[in-house]
């Protein structure tokens, strides 16, 4: 699955997008898995209240399923307009 990062999440993790092989069932499982991998993920994911997530380009929650998802994106609260 493709995992994407935007704004300061992208800057902290250091890449805009990467392909991740995972058995994670939910977004929260994926966050735990990535955080355990390397410190840069642990730092970026340290405060989930400051993050938003989209699964296949739909805004969702951290307990959402990612079974069969093509794309998961992490980013801070949006500031459009």
């Amino acid at each position: 699955m493709d995992v994407m990062y935007f704004a300061w999440v992208r800057e902290r993790i250091g890449v805009p997008r990467e392909t991740v092989e995972t058995e994670a069932a939910t977004v929260a499982d994926l966050v735990r898995e990535l955080s355990a991998r390397e410190e840069r993920y642990e730092v970026a994911f340290s405060d989930l209240d400051a993050l938003r997530v989209a699964v296949d380009q739909d805004l969702t929650d951290f307990d959402a399923s990612i079974a069969g998802a093509r794309e998961v994106a992490f980013f801070p609260p949006m500031t459009g307009g």
Binding site: L59, A73, G81
Partner: protein
């Protein structure tokens, strides 16, 4: 309905004229323009706007569709730029067309409230002192709750 996400500047006047042309059954057009605002303390060198290609268009379309379900609208226009902009540059515009003024105003207000915190754009302000991502405000979420109660 027309949703445009682009890096290039656009001519808001020409867009508005094109939007209202031929709408003989619409009595009211409301438009809003969002500009890059300079900072009071440190002069802004430029603003950088990042977005999520694909999701951006999808989210804007959904917001515009929701507005069309809620009010009597003949048409909706949303143009939002990304990339680098200077103070005074136009970031975005929305326009709504309705048979009646109140629907056009309310729908434009709704579009702006949702576009601010539900469309995947992120602003970064660059000054001589460095750069900072613009933080979302609590009042942005409050503005959405007002529509959800309504």
């Amino acid at each position: 309905m027309r949703i445009v996400v682009q890096e290039a500047p656009f001519d808001a006047g020409a867009e508005l004229n094109a939007f209202q042309a031929g709408k003989t059954d619409m009595g009211a057009i409301v438009s809003f323009s969002g500009l890059v605002r300079d900072l009071p303390d440190a002069p802004l060198r430029h603003m950088l706007i990042e977005h999520y290609p694909g999701m951006t268009e999808r989210a804007l379309t959904k917001i515009a569709q929701d507005a069309c379900e809620r009010w009597s609208l003949g048409d909706v226009l949303v143009i939002h730029r990304f990339g680098q902009m200077a103070p005074g540059d136009q970031i975005m515009m929305v326009a709504t067309a309705s048979p009646h003024r109140k629907d056009a105003f309310a729908a434009a207000d709704f579009l702006m409230d949702y576009l601010k915190s539900r469309a995947p754009f992120w602003k970064k302000e660059v000054t001589a002192d460095g750069s900072d991502w613009v933080a979302a405000k609590d009042e942005d979420e409050k503005a959405l709750r007002q529509w959800q109660q309504g």
